[in-house]
């Protein structure tokens, strides 16, 4: 590496020495890669000077450039998934620039940047521009982009592990392909936390079919992870971990500053409230989640940066973000569900590389104890769960194509050649690309009704361009891959005469939750209990209801499903009787009882228990494959059981097991037949088309692809006020053109995300021929947790029709009584 060391110019070498540092190996490697002009992925743990390593080659190149008399363009573009991170990186970058007196200008550009400054950045670009993927998409739709980026030499993508596997990542990847057209000499630099499959990111980063080179930082001290063994009994089910909160509070007291991660907002509210109730020492503890008003979140972040807080209860909103030096403990409340997420969260504690990060896992119930233990072992073995490579979403491609047409006319063949250099779209067939362009131009309908309203027109030169300035303006207002969840403002109800009107704003909350409330219902928000009165326009009116019992939403549990990797470890742990004595007594006893009453499945087996309870017959299966694929499996099994005359009544699923109950016994059934893989054919299709999840997926695709516009010129309309319902459009399109591009997009999304069909397919394959049915005369110890979920969740099987019928029947019953 001597050659590399020589690459650091004296001025930089002196700066490092002046700070008492010596450049790390991976920083020097990055400098060498820069000199060689290579696309490079840097994987390094937090606290290893990763960001500086990414910028060093550009800082050196800019410090050595010859003076010039005309204003240059942007040399280095930095893209961060978080606005706050871009701002923080800017601040950190100013230090070496100022101390070395480098003639380099750096500016930040986000949605919050004032219009005048953004205009000025266009005419007078800085050497380094720090921004977000959404701003890049806007640049791509700007007619001046080609000239603006002509001098671009380097693009740095931060936290790419957090963005590549999403629609946002698809859009970013397409944006990179465009930048490479503008600036053929531009190289790509990716910064990532530790991942299980670096090759996936290397392919994602470089223009397809190439792979970026890899530089790996030295690992830091291994983290110290403990699983909390509570003095109180571990509950059978639930997600609150209330039994262990006193111990969590003590852990906070013992630490300098702690981040308490939970998996949902409501869990955050609940944990925050519980901690406050026991906060005898009056520790400054704060709350941070996505529903709180932005300014409130900024306040918490600022207080954290000033080291004024002892703990923050937070959700994945703080998975990424600005480094806080004072955090020395990460507490994970309820199981982390995946080892990568856990490692990411643990990395938020202690940013000094040579000292271990400390984490405490707090299981909420018995199976979670096994899961937390599995996660602890996985972190110890550095066994991270990953996601499979992503196929680029065509609704995103449609948005991108429209954007390019807003900037300059395009030739279809050239554009296709460009698009397939974006890794997620590398395998896109020409026919599919043509169909996307046709969708952008005319809506892609078999009935050619919209030729005169086309959004793209083809010039005499054969190139496509946007039809009008109005269409361009509308597109630019709707750029981005994030579909905002429809939210309502929570406001204090005030009286004006007889009328109830909206008063002070408390925060924002998902419309879908508020719609489930009836007037008078109480709920937790921002650490307090409120009584819901009514929804007026875009406001939900509430009054304080201290001391009232708050109702928990049906989806209060984890929104993440147990990862395949952790699930496998849990199955192994259960099967390995030699490891049982190391578990806490209650868990050990529980598993011994299961062996006595029913059966302990081997690692590859799936146990299926059947028994009668009251007049109902139960089937409980233990695939250990995550809540989402279990729920999908339940839907499909229920259809089969219905056809087999078993009269299923309902079902429930958690991360470990699923239960179905019916009027007829299910014990004597052919289980291999019941769990046959062919259920993923027609049954799935038929159910999917009817399901509300498809409608929700369709709504997102319709927004992202520009079929409906989220924002309109001259009107700040919210989703709620969209004058047509995407459900109606879905119904009509499904009947008249079932193979339409957007329906295919929606099916793909639903299968990938909310239904996790791919994982279900792997599950069915895994258990084929390995199902162990056991007929019992009563419920088994393992079945208790999942059965306790009954009644907690809305009955997912109950259809909308049944609800209407029930209400109508009640009316008729009243009427008959009157007669």
């Amino acid at each position: 590496m001597d050659g590399a060391r020589a690459a650091l110019p004296p001025r930089f070498q002196a700066w490092f020495e002046g700070r008492g540092w010596s450049p790390r190996r991976h920083q020097l490697d990055m400098v060498r890669m820069g000199l060689e002009g290579r696309d490079t992925l840097l994987i390094a743990p937090t606290g290893g000077g990763k960001t500086l390593a990414g910028f060093l080659p550009s800082l050196i190149a800019l410090s050595e450039r010859a003076p010039r008399n005309s204003a240059g363009g942007v040399h280095t573009l930095y893209l961060s998934p978080l606005k706050a991170l871009a701002v923080d990186v800017h601040r950190n970058l100013e230090i070496p620039i100022a101390e070395m007196r480098l003639p380099i200008t750096v500016e930040t550009r986000t949605g919050d940047t004032p219009h005048a400054k953004r205009q000025r950045q266009r005419t007078d670009p800085p050497d380094m521009l720090l921004t977000t993927p959404e701003q890049l998409a806007l640049f791509c739709a700007w007619e001046g982009a080609r000239a603006y980026f002509a001098d671009l030499r380097c693009v740095i993508l931060d936290e790419i592990h957090a963005i590549h596997g999403s629609k946002r990542g698809d859009l970013l990847s397409l944006g990179l392909a465009r930048l490479s057209q503008f600036a053929p000499h531009m190289r790509r630099v990716g910064l990532s936390a530790t991942v299980n499959d670096p090759d996936l990111l290397r392919r994602w980063l470089a223009p397809a079919p190439r792979r970026a080179d890899l530089v790996t930082g030295d690992p830091g001290a291994p983290p110290v992870v403990d699983v909390l063994v509570s003095q109180n009994a571990v509950p059978w089910s639930g997600w609150t971990a209330r039994h262990a909160m006193a111990e969590v509070y003590q852990a906070i007291q013992r630490s300098k500053s702690a981040l308490v991660f939970v998996n949902t907002r409501f869990q955050a509210e609940l944990a925050f409230q519980t901690l406050w109730e026991m906060n005898e020492a009056n520790l400054p503890i704060a709350l941070h989640h996505g529903s709180l008003a932005a300014e409130q979140r900024r306040k918490v972040e600022a207080a954290m940066a000033r080291e004024e807080l002892r703990a923050v209860v937070c959700t994945s909103t703080l998975d990424l973000g600005v480094d806080w030096g004072s955090v020395d403990l990460v507490i994970q409340l309820a199981a982390p569900k995946g080892s990568s997420r856990l490692v990411q969260r643990i990395g938020r504690a202690n940013h000094r590389l040579d000292e271990p990060s400390r984490a405490l896992l707090v299981p909420a119930h018995r199976f979670e104890f096994l899961e937390c233990e599995a996660a602890r072992q996985a972190v110890e073995a550095n066994d991270l769960d990953g996601e499979p490579a992503r196929v680029g979403a065509q609704d995103i491609l449609a948005q991108h194509v429209m954007g390019l047409a807003c900037a300059e006319p395009f030739n279809v063949q050239d554009l296709y050649a460009e698009v397939i250099t974006a890794a997620p779209f590398a395998d896109l067939a020409w026919e599919d690309f043509e169909r996307v362009v046709d969708y952008v131009a005319n809506g892609g309908y078999a009935l050619r009704a919209y030729d005169r309203f086309a959004r793209l027109v083809r010039g005499k030169d054969g190139r496509w361009r946007a039809r009008s300035a109005d269409i361009i303006a509308r597109h630019r207002m709707n750029v981005g891959a994030i579909v905002e969840i429809p939210m309502l403002s929570i406001r204090l109800a005030a009286s004006r005469g007889q009328q109830r009107v909206a008063g002070r704003k408390i925060g924002d909350m998902e419309e879908s939750f508020l719609e489930q409330l009836s007037p008078g219902d109480c709920f937790l928000f921002s650490g307090r209990v409120w009584r819901f009165e009514t929804i007026a326009g875009l406001d939900a009116l509430v009054v304080p209801a201290p001391g009232e019992e708050a109702r928990t939403p049906s989806w209060g549990g984890s929104k993440f499903a147990l990862s395949t990797y952790l699930a496998k470890r849990v199955r192994r742990m259960i099967a390995d009787r030699a490891s049982w004595p190391r578990l806490p007594d209650a868990i050990h006893e529980w598993m011994t009882l299961q062996e006595l009453r029913s059966k302990i499945p081997s690692e590859d087996e799936m146990l299926v228990e059947t028994f009668q309870r009251g007049r109902r017959h139960f089937l409980v299966a233990y695939p250990f494959d995550g809540r989402i694929s279990h729920a999908t499996l339940c839907q499909l099994l229920a259809r089969r059981l219905e056809r087999a005359g078993r009269q299923p009544l309902g079902f429930v699923a958690n991360d470990y097991a699923l239960a179905i109950w019916a009027l007829q016994p299910m014990g004597a059934m052919d289980m291999d037949g019941l769990f046959q893989e062919d259920m993923l054919g027609d049954d799935l299709e038929a159910w999917l088309d009817e399901s509300f999840m498809m409608k929700r997926a369709f709504r997102h695709c319709a927004m992202l692809s520009g079929l409906i516009q989220r924002r309109q010129p001259g009107a700040e309309k919210s989703n709620r006020q969209v004058t047509f319902s995407t459900d109606l459009i879905y119904d009509v399109l499904r009947r008249h053109q079932p193979d339409h591009l957007l329906l295919r997009c929606a099916r793909a999304d639903a299968a990938q995300g909310v239904l996790d069909v791919a994982r279900l397919a792997r599950l069915l394959k895994r258990i084929k021929g390995r199902i162990t049915p056991v007929e019992l005369d009563r419920v088994s110890p393992f079945a208790v947790p999942v059965l306790l979920e009954i009644g907690r969740e809305a009955v997912a099987g109950a259809g909308a029709e049944a609800l209407l019928q029930e209400t109508a029947d009640a009316l008729i019953a009243d009427a008959m009584e009157l007669n």
């Binding site: 309908y445 489930q516 009836s518 809305a794 109950a798 029709e801 009316l811 009427a815 009157l818």
Partner: protein, 251 residues
């Protein structure tokens, strides 16, 4: 059919209800039996009249003009449903209760197949286009090549058909315009459906158009139109569900 007297909420006069095999909900409106059909159309038996309101034809292409290329199948879908009802009931009189076209230029955008379909629907019966606020913008009520006749409002025995409900109580009125929707929340799930609204004295029809949105019947726009809390007839899967006002939720 078996009639039952329903006296939900604070109604002074009970409503007479019955269900027929075709899923329609029958009520007595000012003494006249009428069928609320699951399609959202109304069947007035003694007049052999079928009434549908707020078709909003060509709403899709109306948005397409502004760059939102909604599927161009809404007119076909709407006429398909109307055709099914006409085939089932074979009415002597077909009344389209206003807002039949989404905007003043919509007629000009109508596909010729759809125009022909309208003509076939009118064949052998009287077709009346009751005036609607969308249709008369720009003062134009000309039908052009379309069949049928235009009327302000229509009196059928004790019943008066007009597009927009008169403010205050209007016994015997059948109207549309408001696009009523009923919402029920049960077992932590909300269901929102298009709905008829009636107190047995006046009736408001749901919008019939495939892309027509809905206004919650708890909205202030409905206050003052009924003497007592009305009943909602929510459109379900092949049947109309009678829901008491007290069971309904606002949005």
């Amino acid at each position: 059919m078996r009639w039952v007297r329903v006296c939900a909420d604070a109604m002074e006069t009970p409503i007479l209800l019955a269900r027929s095999d075709c899923g329609a909900l029958w009520i007595e409106l000012m003494g006249a039996p009428v069928g609320l059909r699951p399609s959202g159309a109304l069947w007035i038996e003694h007049q052999s009249a079928l009434v549908a309101g707020d078709l909003h034809l060509e709403k899709g292409s109306s948005y397409a003009r502004g760059g939102q290329l909604l599927p161009p199948y809404d007119t076909i879908a709407t006429l398909d449903r109307l055709q099914a009802d006409v085939d089932a009931m074979n009415p002597r009189l077909l009344v389209l209760l206003g807002d039949s076209f989404h905007d003043p230029q919509a007629r000009g955008r109508l596909h010729e197949d759809d125009s022909r379909r309208l003509a076939s629907l009118a064949a052998g019966r009287t077709l009346v286009w009751a005036e609607g606020n969308h249709d008369t913008r720009n003062g134009s009520t000309a039908l052009g090549a379309l069949p049928g006749e235009v009327a302000d409002e229509l009196a059928l025995g004790p019943l008066t058909l007009r597009h927009e409900p008169r403010p205050g109580l209007a016994p015997g009125e059948i109207s549309g315009h408001l696009h009523p929707c009923a919402k029920v929340v049960l077992a932590r799930r909300g269901v929102r459906r298009r709905a008829f609204v009636t107190d047995g004295r006046r009736l408001i029809l749901p919008a019939f158009g495939a892309y027509a949105g809905g206004l919650n019947v708890c909205d202030a726009a409905f206050t003052g139109l009924f003497e007592a809390p009305p009943l909602a007839g929510a459109l379900g899967d092949g049947r109309v569900h009678p829901l008491p006002f007290s069971a309904l939720c606002g949005d």
